[in-house]
């Protein structure tokens, strides 16, 4: 019945293994860079969203709605095909040298994910009992200092697990970057397939890598919840 011959050896060693490995490396690099920038951007948007000024809140809210509700693939295409027309020449030159595909993918993933992270951080801040702010203000801390020393450190601790999940999402979403030629995991699996016609093995390997990544990270989050959050959570 099955006349497909499995050959796992091609993906466990040699050139094709190297391709897959470099794909994994690119996926991890893309995800790591994007998560760092989207955390910073997300923190900013979260704080803007809770600002006392209505226009500032409105800007943050529009940002959130816009980027959460447009398909990621469209955003990737926008940065890849559209942005060079509006960017200054020297930025384009620099991007072309450093790898325009990678930069466009990072841009899209960062902005898209920052909208979700902003909401994670905001609910982290909201989950800190208001008595913590009262205790800090009573001691003589200003609003900003209370945020800095008492509220945000607790909120960020609570936000670590959803943040790690966002990292996983980026890792998975980054497979869309193959459409603009970023040589990440899925791109390389595709490449191996087209050279060897061993599509089953190549994509199984890619699947296993994403799965292992998920499991390892989930285990880390569980340990974190047990060891760190339990001790430092306000009752």
């Amino acid at each position: 019945m099955l006349n497909y011959k499995f050959d796992w050896s091609i993906i466990t060693s040699g050139q094709y293994f190297d391709w897959l490995l470099s794909g994994l490396f690119t996926t991890l690099k893309l995800s790591a860079v994007s998560i760092v920038f989207s955390f910073i951007l997300g923190l900013l948007i979260a704080v803007m969203r809770m600002s006392h000024s209505k226009p500032v809140r409105w800007v943050a809210l529009s940002y959130l709605e816009f980027f959460r509700n447009t398909p990621l693939l469209v955003q990737i295409f926008f940065w890849y095909f559209g942005s060079y027309k509006i960017l200054p020449m020297f930025v384009n030159d620099w991007l072309n040298e450093t790898g325009f595909e990678f930069a466009a993918a990072t841009m899209a993933l960062t902005i898209y994910t920052s909208a979700f992270i902003a909401e994670d951080i905001r609910s982290g801040i909201l989950s800190i009992p208001k008595e913590q702010m009262e205790a800090a203000r009573s001691a003589g801390f200003s609003y900003i200092r209370s945020m800095q020393y008492i509220i945000l450190p607790q909120a960020v601790r609570i936000t670590v697990p959803p943040l790690v999940n966002q990292f996983l999402n980026i890792a998975k979403n980054s497979s869309l970057a193959m459409t603009i030629g970023v040589m990440e995991m899925t791109y390389q699996a595709r490449q191996v397939e087209s050279y060897t016609f061993k599509g089953f093995e190549a994509f199984t390997a890619a699947t296993v890598v994403y799965l292992v990544l998920s499991i390892v990270i989930t285990l880390l989050v569980n340990t974190y919840n047990e060891k760190v959050l339990k001790v430092h959570k306000a009752s």
């Binding site: 913590q132 205790a135 009573s138 001691a139 003589g140």
Partner: protein, 262 residues
């Protein structure tokens, strides 16, 4: 030290403080009691402006709270506040809970602040807990740390809002001991509590509140032996027979009120 002149406070239509006139002198220990919902928390929270007043005049440590130019953070640094639910910072160790404000606001060196904190921890009997985290402590221990944290700022006034109401009965004593020591050391204190034993032992005056009004102000012996107002008489009767007490019965532990009011 603390002067209320015709102070009113509304939450929307709810008149929570009604024409409060009160003069608390330096070194005085004032106990505030009354049925739940009578405005005790609101009253004590106006003193460090956790609740701004709606009308009247309130002067604390020479600063006028109705004056917009008053630096509220500076005033709050001079006032210690102890909450019913302790409200320690859960992400910081005991010693960091105590040294945070002195180092960041008073700009004390870490070393000086820690030495100071250890003296305070010894005073409240918790020197061995310096590196513990709040969740690892019992309620009574957390509240003693909270008192040490407030004292670390060398406050001129200490405010307590039902500091023992959230505690198991067997832990109330240890917290009250710390507070009595503090009272005897001459600290100006305003204490919302139903611990009548504490009031009899160290309070200079007791204020009785109901429906946002201070119905009675008297020396403790006067208040307990000859309460003037019918509401006060009723309140004290209920303290003696906690069975019929208002639904908020957890405010006073059974065995304590009995033995204390004897």
């Amino acid at each position: 030290m603390i002067i209320f002149q015709g102070v009113h406070k509304w939450f929307k239509d709810l008149h929570v403080l009604n024409d409060i006139n009160l003069h608390i002198t330096s070194g005085e220990v004032l106990v505030v009691c009354g049925p739940s919902g009578s405005g005790k928390s609101t009253l004590i929270r106006t003193i460090n402006e956790l609740e701004p007043i709606s009308d009247g005049k309130l002067i604390v440590d020479g600063m006028d709270l109705s004056d917009k130019s008053t630096d509220i953070n500076k005033l709050r640094a001079e006032i210690g506040f102890v909450f019913q639910q302790f409200n320690l910072y859960p992400h910081l160790s005991v010693i960091r809970n105590i040294t945070l404000a002195p180092t960041k606001i008073r700009k004390m060196s870490k070393k000086d602040a820690e030495d100071e904190a250890m003296l305070l921890l010894t005073r409240v009997g918790l020197a061995d807990k310096r590196n513990a985290y709040p969740t690892q402590l019992s309620g009574g221990q957390q509240q003693r740390v909270a008192i040490a944290r407030a004292l670390a700022m060398k406050p001129r006034i200490m405010l307590f809002d039902e500091p023992t109401s959230a505690l198991d009965p067997e832990m109330i004593g240890e917290v009250l001991e710390v507070m009595k020591d503090l009272a005897r050391s001459g600290m100006t204190m305003v204490v919302v509590t139903h611990e009548m034993g504490f009031a009899r032992e160290v309070a200079h005056r007791v204020a009785f509140m109901a429906d946002g009004i201070i119905l009675e102000k008297a020396a403790p012996e006067e208040f307990f032996l000859r309460p003037q107002h019918p509401r006060a008489q009723q309140f004290l009767r209920q303290l003696l027979t906690p069975m019929q007490a208002e639904s908020n019965g957890s405010n006073f532990s059974h065995h304590h009120t009995k033995e204390d009011v004897k």
